[in-house]
Each structure stands twice: as structure tokens, then as C-alpha cells.
Subunit: 127 residues, 2 copies
DNA sequence: GTAGTGTATTATATCACTTAATACACTCAG
DNA sequence: CTGAGTGTATTAAGTGATATAATACACTAC
């Protein structure tokens, strides 16, 4: 619900975090989970800005971070494309997972959870 | 390393997040993991501000959130004390864990990890 | 009374984020 | 060649959260 479709991706923006960061994360997520194919073109800066009702500069910022990470290639006059280098994608995916895990474990340890506590906790609420 | 001791707690401030939030989290962590005993007095607003070299208003903000959560009781003219109500502490602890877990799982799912992937991933790098 | 508590207020400064309005360089279809 | 659509850069402005500073007040204990 509430999501906006653009270029085969689903966008869901709120006010909890910077917009450019949400755009970045949601495109990165689409790439990592294979929701969008390698080599595909993503919407132009202006087009996505208009669709999401945000400023082109804000979209631009997200796109630049994607390119810095090697997840996209931009061709002046043509558009922005998902990289075809699967290794880069897998590395990013692994690093994101590592980072999220590290952060999670640190938070849990800081409130007095042990490793076994965490295992047990993750098992809760399963279907 | 780099940590500052104050009132039996260890403080470690950086620029990655708001200062008041870090102070809040680190005191809350101390309580949750039992690093500080129920009923104990924590440093006065002015004292902690001086020790951490930050503004009293910033410390105040953290203290007010702690009290709103029921983790501390403030007695005008006397100081701020950790609650003696262990149930409140355990509830907060559980909620923090739940929140951290939810955030973690959502992040992992968003980059295409399945539940079993995550289990495997958490097992990595163990001693 | 004095010193040490929490608390409130007002003002100021800074920074990140976002928008807006332009302008330029490039590519492609016509 | 022209025009529309790309990415890109620049400058200006506004907003809100954060943090500091200075001050004052209410309360408690000694």
C-alpha cells in the first residue's frame, strides 16, 4: 500500500529518513533481490522526480551514490543503467548484510542479550 | 577506548548521531544489561554535561526521554534515579530487542535474504 | 542561607536536507 | 541540423533538527 511504481520498481517514501537515502536504498534493494534485471535502464532523473513528486536534485543525489558504488552506469544523453557486473552486485549485497548484522548484534549485546538469547529470540513468532 | 566514565557508566560519543540520542541509548543500555543497579542515582544534569563536555540542555533532553519511558525517576532538588521497577526495565529491554530484530529482518529481506540465509549468515565468524 | 538538584525560557548558530530555477554537454530520432 | 530527452553543475533560498549559551526559577538537603 502507498507504494509508487516507477521503472519496474516500487517506491515507498516517508519522513523518517532523508528522501535521497530512501530512493537509494529502495533501488539498491531492487537490484540486490533481483527485482530488476542487470543492464536494465532505470527512470531518468527528471522522470523519477516527477513520479515521486520530489526534486530532481534529490533523485540525482541518490543516483550518484548508486554509481559511486558501481551499481549503475550512467551514459550522458542516454540514461542510467543497472550494472551488468554481477560480482559487484553480490559484493554489495554481502556487505549490506554484514553491516546490518553487525549493527543488529551490537544493539542486542548492548542491552544484555547473549548469542543464544538472540537465536531464541529470532525463532519467536515464526509461522 | 575513547570512552568516558561517569556515574558507573561508560560513555562514548561521536558525530554519527544526535548527542542526546547517544546519551539516552548508552544509559538505557547500562540499565538493560544491568551495568547499573536499580535505584541507583545517575549523575546530575550539570555534572554529566561537564564530564562529557556537552551542553546541559542536551543532557536534559536525554534524561527527559528516560523518564518518559519510566526508566528513571527524577526528584526535584535530589537528582535522577534508576527506577526500582524491574518489570518496566524488562519490558523496555524486550521492546528494544523486538524493534532491533524487526529492523534487521526487514533490511535482510529487502536485499533478498531468506530466513535460512539469515540463520546461516548469523552463524558465520563464530569463535 | 548556601549549594546542589531538576526545569524552563529565549536567543543564536550550525548543519543536513530539500526545493527552485537555470544552464550546459551529450545522444538520438526525425 | 533540430529538438527532445538524457546526465550534470551551480546558485540561492527555506526549513527543521540539533546544539550551545545565558539566565532564571523551584525544590531539597545540610
Amino acid at each position: 500500500m502507498g507504494g509508487i511504481e516507477a521503472g519496474g520498481m516500487e517506491f515507498d517514501l516517508d519522513l523518517s529518513k532523508p528522501l535521497y537515502e530512501q530512493v537509494l536504498q529502495q533501488i539498491r534493494g531492487s537490484i540486490a533481490r533481483g527485482g530488476i534485471a542487470l543492464g536494465d535502464k532505470i527512470p531518468s532523473v527528471r522522470e523519477l522526480a516527477q513520479t515521486l513528486k520530489i526534486n530532481p536534485n534529490t533523485v540525482m543525489r541518490a543516483y550518484q551514490e548508486l554509481e559511486r558504488d558501481g551499481l549503475t552506469e550512467t551514459r550522458r544523453g542516454q540514461g542510467t543503467f543497472i550494472t551488468t557486473n554481477d560480482e559487484v552486485v553480490q559484493n554489495i549485497r554481502y556487505n549490506l548484510a554484514r553491516e546490518a548484522t553487525k549493527e543488529f548484534l551490537e544493539k542486542m549485546y548492548s542491552i544484555g542479550f547473549t548469542k543464544t538469547d538472540i537465536q531464541r529470540f529470532l525463532g519467536e513468532g515464526d509461522e
